[in-house]
Symmetry: C2
Subunit: 329 residues, 2 copies
């Protein structure tokens, strides 16, 4: 398996729920009228806490500063998995499980914070730009890292000067509580040319759903259903993760799913904001799932991490993760 | 000819060009997701100076106060023309010329300020709520005024107490300079059910056109082409006035025009803001046009008035209005 280091230099931001109206103008532009911007990497994820927006520097210019916008200090670089030497953007994604052992675990062991963004097409692994030397030195033994140069993939080479590496640290031992909301999710794509046909519904769902769509509290207070919606437009490919109830509002013929009617349950990590400096959070989940060969999508937000696993595996997953928690007590 | 006094209680507002992003969230809701509001009267007109928004009290609640929003003090009431005892909302409008003599001129003579809003479907005449007694007493000799009561039209009756009338004043003698920009306009409608199909283009034109669409300065500095775009959604009917160049961006099969390819030229009144307290401005144009039997649409904005006349009549109209100006010097 090979990785590609993409050109995008990404900023990770959080918009307060109360500030959405203030950012509707630039967000609508980035989502529906991307030809008006030079942004090539855009991701918006609504979670109960906030809107997490990850976007490249061209996109970031569109967001005016305000009290509602919180910006992570660092610039993040993006890697994705190459299948047979080619980016797998054109074929449906099979989840992060395959990279758990070879990418996520080694990075966690070397104290590298990782943000994950799984999409319909592929899995993006975001690391701090300043961590690139460690990332390269950690991973280049077992896999090859390429970059695009004038349309050709060439091996990525760090300068001689930057071969230093952080000291190995113990694998992070903080084990976060795991919540599993009751709603089911689907992972979809749509041809960008068809996006205008669903723009009214998308506008409604993304910018006006908080007032009209109040979730019924679930029977168990511990595991409620949550508002979660993710939209990304990266290198011309659209990916949408939505609740199966929300999906009913869209015309069925335009949205692409990897397999008909496949639904996913969410495992949400953390009872309090995780912070960017804690490493190994993705590894905590991805590892056990890989051991049991359970596929998963993974979406990091500003404060939490979210894994999506096949509906039929959820009980198994919760059991696995609880076992892990108990073994760490 | 009969008039109907509608239920809508309308506020007249102006949004600074620089404040559009701040109001994108509520405006998109009012335009594309009206089912999320109780607004039944909404009109947005972009002119070079500002965005004029006229909307009923339910709609007005959606606009948060800010330094960008200017609100005319009064509440305005809306009348429209009844054809054969029925509101003519369902059939294409024939312009304000027919009401010039019977409505506009008498109101001007009685010092009643009038805002006009012509749409594809009908002409709306807006008067201050406090002027209703004068309006009623001025007009009820020559025509009947109805209102809707539980779905039936009944004669509108002022209480006995409100039969006072302002003193007659001399017909307003201020004659404003008349400008005629070079671009051509069309007056269109679309089935509200088809609006989602053009929402991406509409979003672009209404909220993102200032940066991407810089008008070429016209050859004559005196008569330039201008940015002018009007959208209204009133009692479920949509009307759009746009530049013929802008129209080319829309799919041809969805927009309805009253007659194929009919284009209109604009006569713009005033070299400086008119203010709401000057009466007879509409009458200044509507009168001469009615004398010459030239049809016209009429759209008032916060600062200016705009008449649209058939392309082939524009030279004639300018000549008529200039003659009028000269006779007042």
């Amino acid at each position: 398996m090979d990785l590609q280091l993409l050109e995008h230099r990404v900023r990770v931001t959080s918009i307060d729920k109360s500030g959405l109206a203030f950012y509707t103008h630039p967000l609508v532009k980035l989502i529906f009228l991307p030809h008006h911007t030079r942004c090539k990497f855009f991701s918006l994820t609504e979670s109960p806490e906030d809107y997490t927006v990850m976007l490249d520097e061209e996109g970031f210019k569109e967001l005016p500063p305000s009290e509602y916008l919180h910006v992570a200090e660092n610039t993040w670089r993006v890697m994705n998995v190459l299948a047979n030497g080619f980016s797998c953007s054109a074929v449906p994604n099979v989840g992060v499980t395959k990279i758990a052992k070879s990418v996520i675990a080694p990075l966690a062991e070397h104290n590298v914070s990782v943000l994950m963004l799984s999409t319909y097409q592929t899995d993006y692994i975001l690391v701090r730009e300043e961590d690139l030397p460690v990332v390269f030195n950690t991973l280049s033994g077992d896999l090859r890292i390429y970059k695009d140069e004038n349309g050709e993939l060439v091996p990525f080479n760090l300068g001689e000067s930057s071969k230093e590496m952080k000291k190995d640290v113990l694998f992070n031992q903080t084990v976060h509580p795991v919540l599993s909301p009751q709603n089911k999710f689907c992972i979809l794509s749509i041809d960008p040319n068809a996006l205008p046909s669903i723009s009214s519904i998308l506008l409604d769902v993304m910018f006006y759903s908080n007032t009209s769509q109040n979730r019924t509290p679930a029977s168990s207070p511990e595991i409620e259903s949550i508002n979660f919606f993710a939209f990304s437009l990266i290198d011309g490919y659209i990916s949408i993760v939505m609740d199966s109830e929300t999906q009913k509002r869209f015309p069925t013929n335009l949205l692409l799913t990897s397999s008909s009617g496949e639904l996913w349950r969410m495992v949400r990590i953390g009872g309090q904001p995780l912070g960017f400096d804690e490493c190994g959070i993705v590894a905590q989940i991805a590892g056990p799932l890989a051991d049991s060969d359970i596929s998963a999508y993974y979406i990091s937000t500003f404060n939490f991490d979210h894994a999506l696993v096949p509906e039929e595996d959820i009980d198994n997953v919760i059991q696995l993760l609880r076992k892990r928690q108990e073994s760490h007590r």
